[in-house]
């Protein structure tokens, strides 16, 4: 399959000043693949604001920015100061404009927050899910990368109760687990 949009430069992530930043891995690339598959749909929607929760290296937002261009604002939140700085560097390396902000979703710090997860690996996600219905515009899309342990079907059910329709739009095997990108949109009023 031919890649229409190049993967952003991210070699600086995970080393030197950014050694404590989550280095792009299989989950990052699956999310990028899902966004690339939806590129024309996303461009057609012409969004104004894109928010990434847990931007890490910033590679995913940088990718979205390369697809959608400079007509949208790209806000990247993370709890790791090194990640916020790394996101800024990723933006400049890829000639896109991203707005990193250090904001709090969990009480732990640094790279542990990326791994901790808690029960079923859902501690972080569960604190954020209730906000999704509030934040998403009437024609917006919400993408969430999950692993089998997170129980993606339950996440879909949970968000369905909040008026968001979801499905797995791309998935792949990762060791004994399955990585899935879930995509949600507002249920249309009939």
């Amino acid at each position: 399959m031919c890649s229409g949009y190049p993967t952003p430069v991210y070699a600086h992530a995970g080393r030197g000043d950014f050694r404590d930043v989550y280095e792009p891995a299989q989950d990052s690339f699956l999310l990028i693949d899902a966004l690339e598959t939806d590129a024309e749909r996303l461009r057609g929607m012409s969004p104004s604001v894109c928010l990434e929760v847990g931007s890490g290296s910033g590679v995913v937002s940088a990718f979205v920015a390369s697809v959608l261009g400079p007509s949208a604002a790209y806000i990247c939140s993370d709890v790791n100061p090194a990640a916020a700085q790394c996101t800024a560097k990723t933006a400049s390396c890829n000639n896109v404009s991203l707005q990193p902000v250090l904001t709090d979703l969990v009480s732990s710090r640094g790279i542990e927050a990326a791994w901790a997860g808690g029960e079923r690996g859902r501690e972080v996600t569960d604190r954020f899910l209730p906000s999704v219905a509030q934040l998403l515009s009437h024609k917006g899309l919400f993408y969430l990368i999950t692993i089998t342990e997170n129980d993606p079907e339950e996440i879909i059910r949970l968000l369905s109760h909040q008026g968001l329709e979801g499905e797995s739009c791309l998935s792949t095997r990762a060791g004994n687990e399955r990585l899935s990108v879930l995509r949600f949109h507002r249920k249309q009023q009939t």
């Binding site: 104004s48 604001v49 400079p70 007509s71 949208a72 604002a73 806000i75 709890v79 100061p81 916020a84 700085q85 800024a88 404009s97 707005q99 990193p100 902000v101 250090l102 904001t103 709090d104 009480s107």
Partner: protein, 123 residues
């Protein structure tokens, strides 16, 4: 931190009712040259808290002749859009802090990134 970002930030310190807009105390400000994208500016304007933007620009000494109120029919007013573009995207606070207008709590800005993380006792 660009003023576009500042316009979205609010203090969530426990007990605070209105932690917006945050006062900017800047010790290092930079003005970059950013490509003017009129479509982007037009889309951001309706989302902005205009007074907070003007106040922020003022606090940085970069307001210049940005009007206190939105001009009507701004979509076609390139002159006005360029002024908004400059304040929104070109002025950048590199070092300083943001102060909660109610609690006085300061949120540091370091290397251009605002730190809104709260301590455990503030959540």
């Amino acid at each position: 931190m660009k003023l576009l970002t500042h316009n979205m930030l609010t203090s969530h310190v426990k007990g605070v009712i209105k932690g917006y807009p945050l006062l900017i105390k800047a010790t290092e400000v930079k003005v970059n040259e950013v490509e003017f994208n009129p479509q982007f500016v037009c889309r951001m304007i309706p989302k902005l808290e205009w007074c907070a933007l003007v106040q922020a620009a003022d606090q940085l000494g970069h307001r210049q002749d940005l009007p206190g109120e939105l001009v009507p029919d701004y979509e076609k007013n390139e002159d006005f859009l360029k002024k908004v573009h400059r304040v929104l995207m070109e002025v950048e606070v590199l070092e300083g802090c943001l102060q909660c207008p109610e609690s006085g709590r300061e949120f540091p800005i370091s290397k251009g990134i605002p730190n809104m993380l709260l301590n455990e006792d503030e959540v």
